[in-house]
């Protein structure tokens, strides 16, 4: 209420990126975590193991592997919890099958993947951004998914809250990509007052159980989701199903189901697209970056501006669905665009896809387990 002048309960702490994820998750109402230790995401599990039992209903469980971790997260979410897990590289590969299951059963959950240098065991303590396309297309079959990224510790907190909100709002798994540098950077962050945050929880059915259809289409494409055991008995299956949840292979039912799960994400694209524009207004050359590289790029743009170069930075916080309108705008505006990333070109590929000859797309790739420095980006940027 406006008349009540309540004192804000903001708090400043000195935290790791991984710890900020936990703070964000708890603010968003997460009360279930299942995971398996893996560098460099382990601090998330450790912090959750300390914090969750202090909540009235909090549950932390260490599972036998990553497959089991995501399995029990889905189970807990079906039982009505806001649930999450965190992993890295090899663990993320193991989780792919259950990401698909969460997509088709429309189960909300948050999966944090702290990217480390790969492939395979790779370099466990070195940063990379090699899992971007895997996050989009890793599980088999055509499926919609939301992939977010965070580049500094404050963003880790904010994007975790956003990830939970999106997952609950659209009944979908949300993948949050960090990289090793972001996860292991320790800096001062502000924990917002909970009353300042917009927290979304899944829609519960308002109709009597006998009228309830668990996978019914509506304007939003997202139906209400009661927890297991609440009187709304329905069938959950990884098979393609009709609006009752019963398996079907009738072409008409299958087509409308798959179209709906795509539509529920696509039609709210402008709600999901999160980008940050820095000096973009009058830019003639632009950097498109995400994750910890976005941070280096920010300094590089500053340095370029100091030298009189009209540079801008488009920081992507939503990676998928790909923020095409924001990227297209910069491609139209700038003669050249630079996409620096710690992989062989997974987002620059997307940028080139939407470019259609409007601008020159330059890339800067590093795959040696080292971060991309502002000086490197500046050098490449000035070259045009």
């Amino acid at each position: 209420m406006a008349t009540k002048n309540k004192k804000k309960k903001e708090k400043e702490i000195f935290a790791l990126g991984n710890e900020a994820v936990v703070e964000g998750a708890l603010l968003a109402g997460c009360n279930f975590y299942a995971g398996y230790p893996i560098t460099p995401s382990t601090e998330i599990a450790e912090e959750m193991a300390r914090r969750l039992p202090l909540l009235e209903e909090g549950v932390f469980i260490q599972m036998e592997d990553e497959i089991a971790s995501l399995g029990s997260v889905i189970g807990a979410s079906l039982a009505g919890r806001k649930a999450m897990t965190a992993t890295s590289g090899p663990g993320f590969s193991l989780m792919q099958e259950h990401i698909g299951y969460a997509c088709i059963t429309e189960t909300p959950l948050v999966l944090v993947n702290v990217m480390r240098a790969g492939p395979s065991t790779g370099m466990p303590t070195s940063p990379a951004q090699g899992d971007v396309q895997q996050a989009r297309w890793g599980t088999h079959g055509d499926h919609p998914i939301i992939v977010l990224s965070a580049g500094d510790v404050q963003e880790c907190l904010e994007m975790t809250v956003t990830a939970f909100n999106f997952s609950e709002k659209y009944r979908t798994p949300v993948i949050l990509l960090l990289d090793e540098v972001t996860a292991h950077t320790r800096e001062k962050i502000t924990i917002p007052d909970p009353s300042d945050l917009y927290i979304y929880s899944r829609l519960l059915p308002s109709m009597p159980p006998e009228w309830y259809l668990p996978f019914e289409d509506n304007m939003r494409g997202v139906s209400a989701m009661p927890p297991l055991g609440s009187g709304y008995r329905y069938h959950v299956t990884g098979l393609t199903h009709d609006d009752h949840g019963y398996p079907t292979s009738k072409p008409r039912e299958v087509e409308s189901f798959i179209n709906r799960i795509f539509r529920k994400i696509d039609q709210f694209f402008y709600d999901i697209q999160i980008v940050e524009e820095i000096y973009c207004q009058d830019a003639t050359s632009c950097i498109i970056a995400y994750g910890s590289v976005g941070r280096s790029a920010e300094l590089a743009v500053q340095m370029a501006r100091d030298q009189g170069e009209k540079a801008g930075l488009l920081k992507l916080k939503t990676l998928f669905p790909f923020p095409r309108p924001a990227v297209e705008k910069m491609l139209r505006q700038c003669a050249s665009v630079l996409v620096p990333e710690m992989n062989m070109g997974q987002i620059s590929r997307e940028v080139k896809r939407v470019n259609s000859g409007q601008s020159k797309v330059n890339t800067l790739n590093r795959i040696d387990g080292q971060i991309i420095t502002p000086a490197e980006i500046l050098k490449k940027l000035l070259k045009g």
Binding site: A68, G71, Y101, L228, Y234, Y246
Partner: protein
């Protein structure tokens, strides 16, 4: 309508289109019947039961019954069930798996669920074969038996699901064959009410995929074999090794009543919250 059939009809989904997927002579329906009778006998409500299953013929069981039902991925039913039980310990979580699910692809989850002693009721429908995919050998296909992937006879030794689960620390482990309906009812009833991890392994015939390749001319021959060779576990222990090979030990392997993981977790949470 017979009284038993009427009872079972009360638990079936009438919005689901039948017929079911099971072959003539399949034992899975007998197990489902027994499960429904046990649920009824224990006075459990449909709302409090969550029936979780994996992939395969056994995975198709949940869709027909009017509980909260979850049909999961291959071999991972126990991981989903673990999440559900930890998230809401009030629910009665029943897991139905086949031998491929429970002991082959999901063996890791079975031994860990038993070790954790989490409060689940698990039914393993062991037909010694991958039925749905067309009769490939599983980790419980007996030595020397034929399947489409062991056309010259199985060369590997098979798993004994009940002995393994017992060794991993489950509270209640028992085995029955589908020919022992009364024993099965009793065992499943116990598994439904006992705390901690409870498993009932049911030996169920698959004539379509296993019997035909292994010299059982008809389904009836398989049922007759089961009837003849089922031996109570107490008697089984006294048999000679040769006779043990042909026998199926049935009955209760172990029975404890330690608190389940979810109960211990609640206690831990109360303890640390009290201390702070």
């Amino acid at each position: 309508m017979a009284k038993v059939t009427q009872l079972i009809h009360n638990y079936l989904r009438h919005t689901k289109k039948f017929p079911h997927v099971f072959c003539p002579g399949c034992g899975h329906g007998i197990v489902l019947g027994s499960l429904i009778r046990s649920v009824h006998a224990q006075g459990l409500s449909k709302d409090e039961i969550v029936l979780v299953a994996g992939i395969g013929c056994s995975g198709r069981i949940p869709v027909y019954v009017d509980f909260n039902t979850v049909h999961t991925t291959h071999g991972r039913a126990l991981t989903f069930a673990t999440g559900i039980k930890m998230a809401n310990p009030e629910l009665k979580v029943i897991v139905v798996m086949g031998d491929g699910d429970a002991m082959s692809i999901g063996g890791n989850h079975l031994i860990h669920a038993a070790r954790r002693n989490i409060g689940l009721t698990t039914l393993v429908l062991n037909n010694h074969i991958y039925g749905m995919t067309g009769g490939q050998s599983s980790s419980t296909t007996p030595f020397g038996c034929y399947s489409t992937t062991t056309p010259f006879g199985q060369m590997e030794k098979e798993f004994d699901i009940s002995e393994i689960t017992k060794a991993c620390g489950a509270n209640f482990v028992a085995r029955a064959t589908v020919m022992q309906a009364n024993l099965m009812d009793r065992l499943i009833s116990t598994a439904l009410t006992n705390p901690g991890f409870n498993m009932v392994e049911v030996i169920t015939p698959c004539h379509t995929q296993f019997g035909r390749k292994n010299k059982y001319k008809t389904t009836v021959d398989m049922y007759k074999w089961l009837k003849k060779n089922a031996v109570p576990i107490e008697k089984y222990r006294d048999l000679s090794p040769e006779k043990q090979r042909d026998a199926v030990s049935t009955g209760v392997f172990t029975h404890n009543d330690c608190a389940g993981l979810e109960q211990k977790y609640i206690q831990m949470r109360q303890r640390i919250r009290g201390e702070i």
